[in-house]
């Protein structure tokens, strides 16, 4: 039984809705979920919302179906990028640090190329609700795969509306043709608990997106775990040295190789 994760649950101000979504996710068998804060910067500098602390939502997290440990909830930021100026030099890394994962949703071809090659993000989102404005080229996609950046497809739009379904499937298939099924994650993008689906159902949906069976199952399990690790290493120095403040001495260096399970606390 591998670990399944759903890395895109749209955040809302309604706590009860978030609670019911997370409970449904635990019932379906997801070990980790990530609450997604979507930001569309209009002006040059717009403030990035602070993620609400995870313990606000639940006193006691629901137990995952089939395991005995509670579900883990993370925070994630998605930036809808329509202009390159947001990212280039004035990267507000301090605010990004409070999020476990950072994603970008490029709207133009140049931004897509830049996001694949240079931006410091974990996930690149693929359009689901509209026709893809640009074609995927092999060069930036391969560059992203080498760097360890993942491409994400959301399936909630496909469930809501038939026209969206066509766009989702078309965009997903054109992405798979270019990247050959590597570095793909599939997540829900759910706004309500009824839009979630079980992990094996999504692995089957991967077949509709023309993924192979192993790739489809990996898109929900192992690739998601890689994304998490990538997010953790963003805070370290190329993933080799990880600093942690110990309570007695003010600063101590700790070596932790990234190939083994990273010693961190995702609180």
């Amino acid at each position: 039984m591998s670990v399944f994760m759903d890395l895109n649950i749209i955040s809302s101000n309604d706590k009860n809705r978030l609670k019911s979504i997370i409970e449904t996710a635990a019932h379906l068998g997801y070990s980790t979920v990530a609450i997604n804060y979507v930001v569309e910067p209009q002006q040059k500098k717009q403030e990035i919302p602070k993620p609400q602390s995870v313990s606000d939502i639940f006193d006691k997290f629901p137990i995952v179906q089939g395991k005995s440990s509670p579900i883990k909830v993370l925070n994630r930021l998605t930036i809808i990028a329509s202009d390159a100026s947001h990212f280039v030099s004035c990267i507000p890394t301090n605010e990004y640090k409070s999020f476990d994962l950072v994603a970008v949703y490029p709207k133009t071809e140049k931004l897509f190329h830049a996001a694949c090659m240079t931006f410091d993000v974990d996930i690149i989102c693929i359009a689901v609700a509209e026709k893809q404005p640009f074609h995927f080229k092999r060069a930036p996609v391969n560059g992203a795969i080498d760097r360890g950046v993942f491409f994400e497809t959301c399936y909630a739009a496909a469930i809501r509306d038939t026209t969206m379904r066509r766009y989702t499937i078309a965009n997903a298939i054109s992405l798979m043709e270019v990247c050959k099924g590597k570095n793909i994650i599939v997540s829900s993008g759910a706004e309500r608990p009824l839009e979630l689906r079980g992990p094996y159902d999504i692995a089957n949906l991967g077949l509709v997106f023309s993924l192979s069976e192993g790739d489809a199952k990996g898109a929900v399990s192992t690739n998601c775990r890689s994304v998490l690790l990538h997010g953790e290493t963003r805070a370290t120095a190329s993933g080799v040295v990880y600093t942690m403040k110990k309570p007695k001495t003010p600063q101590k260096q700790e070596e932790s190789p990234v190939s083994k399970k990273a010693k961190t606390e995702l609180a």
């Binding site: 019911s20 449904t24 019932h27 379906l28 137990i63 179906q65 089939g66 399936y155 496909a158 469930i159 809501r160 038939t162 379904r165 608990p193 009824l194 839009e195 979630l196 689906r197 079980g198 094996y200 159902d201 999504i202 089957n204 949906l205 077949l207 509709v208």
Partner: protein, 168 residues
């Protein structure tokens, strides 16, 4: 050995409130599934649905459905399952989604899985029990889950789990 091989999809209907589950019928699931397969895979899907698919079992209390299809085409039918958003039953629309628990080659394997799954569900209910009497009831139900009672009846599922309902 020449044998008709089939795949049984064990699914669970998940609804926000359990009371709307009571009126479920297997014809409802069948019609909804047929419409979903038609929308997702067109005429080819409808044709495949007509030859092989049948709803074998439905439990309105727990929302468990057992769907049978041919071995060659079960993935197609399964992929259309995820797109179902509501079940329509005599004019009433129930918002729900189908979650596939297990794919088995025979009804017996699905039964065995279902007994194990229901036992897990009872374990999950145990921390939520408010009174001691409820706890005893749930523990007794867990201990009495077994496959031996259902060896004769092929279509009956749930082991001996009818008293361990999900409602706390």
């Amino acid at each position: 050995m020449v044998r008709f091989k089939s795949r049984y999809l064990l699914c669970e209907v998940c609804v926000p409130d359990r009371s709307s589950l009571q009126l479920l019928e297997d014809r409802t699931i069948y019609n909804t599934l047929r419409a979903a397969v038609n929308r997702a895979h067109g005429d080819y899907g409808s044709a495949l649905f007509n030859i092989g698919v049948i709803v074998k079992y439905l439990n309105a209390h727990t929302g468990v459905v057992l769907i049978r299809s041919r071995k060659k085409h079960y993935r197609l039918i399964w992929s259309a399952l995820s797109f179902i958003t509501c079940l329509e039953n005599r004019g009433q629309k129930v918002q729900c989604f189908l979650n596939c628990l297990h794919v088995g080659g025979t009804i017996r394997t699905c039964q065995k899985f279902l007994v194990k799954y229901n036992r897990q569900q009872l374990h999950r209910m145990l921390p939520d029990c408010k009174t001691d009497a409820e706890k005893q009831e749930v523990r007794r139900a867990i201990l009495s889950c077994s496959l031996s009672n259902v060896r004769e009846e092929e279509a009956d599922e749930d082991g001996s789990d009818d008293d361990g309902d999900e409602e706390t």
